[in-house]
């Protein structure tokens, strides 16, 4: 493990048995797990290279219990790591040796479905897909669709502000949640937002979404749901160079078309996916672009013609259009299974998640190829091309000495390149521990200080998920100090009127 986590507090570890007993008094029965064997499943999240058994696992099933657990931890200076399904790819739910792992898996009830207001109120442990399934019989769905949607929870989606292939048109989690109940580390229970389309005052929901479990524990969520489009069809387009596929994406967007989804896979990814799901992908192309258009049939038909023309102008060599729902799903099957497919061709892989301005796609790909040669590690690329979000999958073998470090260095170089091209370190997977130490590539000390000050407004002792997101921890008192510059001279040399 090359990333340092906060040094465990021996005084806390020494009190472990009394802490476990106190937690048992709050969450009875099987809700507190302290045996090494039973805690093992919680040792890591989707970033499996990092493992750490927690001090104790607590699985509350009421808001009241969450509140009491947090208040107890707050009063006793004990760290807490919230966890949903543990599919985070950035180590957001990685436990701490001296911390409570607070699993929200028992919050599994959908509390209210309201078609008139087009909202669902749900507990945070409900999976992303289960929300869509609960409203599917009325033709509704919840739009953000991470590939992990069978497993990941809506609470974790809020933690990471997750996206999916459809967020190009329908937005990320933050654009689709209206309110929540959140418990602060003090144990205080707050309600933010409601079924109303907009919150009053500061947009707290906007700041809670994507906060990676550092601000509070979400115990209820209100999401908005949409009616399914009348139809959806996909084009599967092959290009002899990756650059041409990038150009095609830029021209589609430039033509004012916002597809439901627009994804690129490069040759290694195409081959891995085809071998895994047999979707009928062309194997002799360098890039495969999948474009999905949704809406009424007349609109989809018209836009398919427009996209087809653009694709041909960009030099597409193969082009298939789905003619049935079955065929559309088949086009997607390979893309949706790209991660596990790559998992089959390499003992281990690291999934990166930088975003670049769409127009920089060719340069970014060229850079990734250079780096791949430099490090001597293979890479398969899948992208949410419509919004410039890259997922290079770096192939390595953790059993070969030094390869994991090499893979991490390669990944860090890719993310630095993303920032250099005007982009960002993470588009949807979050900073977690994985990108934590790269934050200074994108943000100055002052930028980071401002973010940490906000954290202080929610959690002044820094007990919630420490060691994530921020490369260095500062005390809130220090961050809150105002530096008074230049005596009491009021407004030197500014023009006045």
């Amino acid at each position: 493990m090359s990333i340092m986590m906060p040094v465990p507090d021996q005084a806390i570890l020494d009190r472990r048995s009394s802490i476990v007993a106190a937690l048992r008094a709050i969450v009875p029965g099987e809700g507190v797990i302290d045996s090494a064997a039973e805690m093992q499943p919680y040792e890591s999240d989707g970033l499996t290279a990092y493992r750490q058994p927690p001090m104790v696992v607590v699985l509350p099933d009421t808001t009241e219990q969450v509140s009491r657990v947090l208040r107890y931890c707050h009063d006793n200076g004990i760290k807490v790591v919230p966890r949903g399904a543990g599919t985070s790819l950035s180590g957001g739910a990685l436990p701490l040796a001296d911390g409570v792992l607070l699993g929200m898996g028992k919050f599994k009830r959908i509390r209210d479905i309201d078609y008139e207001n087009r909202t669902v109120v749900t507990e945070p442990g409900v999976t992303n897909l289960a929300i869509s399934q609960a409203v599917a019989h009325e033709g509704f769905y919840y739009a953000p669709d991470p590939s992990s949607q069978i497993a990941c929870t809506i609470g974790g989606n809020i933690g990471e502000n997750s996206g999916g292939v459809h967020c190009l048109k329908y937005g990320m989690t933050t654009n689709n949640v209206l309110g929540c109940e959140i418990v602060l580390i003090s144990g205080e229970i707050l309600r933010v937002g409601s079924k109303a389309p907009e919150q009053a005052g500061y947009d707290l929901m906007g700041i809670i979404t994507g906060s990676e479990g550092l601000l509070g524990v979400v115990t209820e969520v209100t999401v908005r749901i949409l009616k399914k489009p009348e139809t959806a069809r996909a084009l599967m387009i092959g290009f002899p160079q990756v650059e041409a596929s990038g150009e095609c994406v830029a021209r589609v967007i430039g033509a004012g078309i916002i597809p439901g989804g627009m994804e690129i896979m490069d040759k290694p990814a195409i081959h891995a996916a085809e071998a895994f799901v047999h979707a009928g992908y062309p194997l002799d192309v360098e890039a495969l672009l999948i474009v999905e258009l949704d809406g009424p049939a007349v609109e989809v038909d018209e836009l398919i013609l427009r996209v087809e023309k653009i694709a041909r102008d960009c030099g597409a060599t193969t082009l298939q259009i789905s003619n049935s729902e079955q065929e559309r799903l088949l086009f997607w099957a390979g893309r949706k299974a790209a991660f596990p497919a790559v998992g089959r061709i390499s003992p281990d892989y690291l999934c990166m998640d930088g975003t670049i301005p769409r127009g920089k796609l060719p340069q970014a790909l060229a850079r990734i190829r250079e780096l791949s040669e430099k490090y001597g590690l293979g890479v398969a690329n899948v992208f949410h091309a419509g919004d410039g979000n890259l997922h290079p999958l770096i192939l390595y073998d953790a059993n070969k000495p030094g390869e994991m470090d090499k893979a991490e260095a390669f990944g860090a170089d890719i993310l630095r390149a993303c920032v250099e091209f005007g982009g960002v370190l993470t588009g949807e997977h979050g900073v977690g521990v994985e990108k934590r130490d790269l934050m200074p590539e994108m943000f100055s000390d002052i930028d980071l200080a401002q973010q940490m000050r906000l954290k202080c407004a929610f959690d002044p002792q820094g007990l919630l998920n420490p060691g994530k997101v921020f490369p260095t921890l500062h005390r809130c008192a220090e961050l809150g100090r105002v530096h008074v510059h230049g005596g009491k001279l009021a407004f030197p040399d500014l023009p006045r009127f």
């Binding site: 907009e198 906007g206 407004a457």
Partner: protein, 412 residues
Amino acid sequence: MDILKIRDAKDVEQAVQAAIAAEQPLEIVGHGTKRAVGQPTATNAVLDLSALNGVTSYEPNELILTVEAGAPMADIKSLIDSKNQEFDFEPMDTSALLGTASLSGTIGGTIAAGLAGPRRIKSGGARDHLLGVAAVSGFGESFKAGGRVVKNVTGYDLCKLIAGSWGTLAVMTEVTLKVMPKAEHEVTLVLHGLDDVAANRAMSAALGSSFDVSGAAHLPQSAFRGAIGALASLGSQGSVTLLRLEGIGASVTHRANSLTAALASFGKADRCEDTASQAVWVAIRDVTPFAASGPLGAWPVWRIVCPPASGGAFGRELARETGGDVIYDWGGGLIWAALPPSADAHAGHLRAKLAAIEGHATLIRGSDPLRRAIDVFHPHSDGVAALNRRVKSSFDPRDILNRGRMTLVPPI
């Protein structure tokens, strides 16, 4: 009154640092068109950002625009208009409602006020379109947040907080926004004679359909008292309920036909298209029935946001109880209410009623004495109010920026 005219972003930092040293709160102003919104601020030093008006970069193919915060809305709109693009959140022009000069207002003021228009139900608000920001905090420090790409979860999403914070957290110096291609075609279906509750049901049905409705508004007959501008042509038969469809030609026609059929039980829908339709939605966006120059110009105006399906019944009762007028947008989720003048502009009554439906209300137009007497912004529960104070302090611990703008009792 001290007006400090900023020349560049560095000046902002210097001015805020000097204000901290002098313990002198600052009022942050773009063009000052919305100075009459919010609690009157307790200061005589004004930071004027209107000279920070450059366009940093505009990349139509990336759908991204970066501009300095004092850039005039009028200039920006014509710039993106030249590439057939627009802001999808359809920000309102408050000049008719507030009786300020038209053709003014800055992008910083627009984002800080966060007043999104009819398309919010489909495309979100200012907060959903602000991708990145450079700003100066109340620590007198320049910081940035977000980025210049549409998809970004690196660090806390401070842009969300700053949008709609009315200049109380940080002074924006530069903003990066998402822009969108304009629709090729638009059609508005017009249903006549529905009462507020029936109209609410019609709007809910339309918004719960797959026809991608991008505007859903209802104007009771009373809204036509002034018979102002573009709306005059709609009102001849009493109340109107309006449903907007935008997109490519064939699609809009198809959806208009399908929606007309689906809503047949609410009556026969008329249509208006393209420029006529656009003019109607501008009037709704800008709340022209309650224009400062109109018959209700002297009445206080509330902006009420509530769960959409509760809007019709709530608004009808409010109008009956107070003798006021209401119009509905966002399928019932936004109610503009002009209420007859009273000591508290009916704030107590209104907010007590809103508690039952989890809605909230902001006074957008009201006299100075009124705004000194009542909470202009909706009061929060104790816990959320305390958290908001801590959030404010985390950006502006000395309460230098727009002191008292959003809270009746100064927090510190």
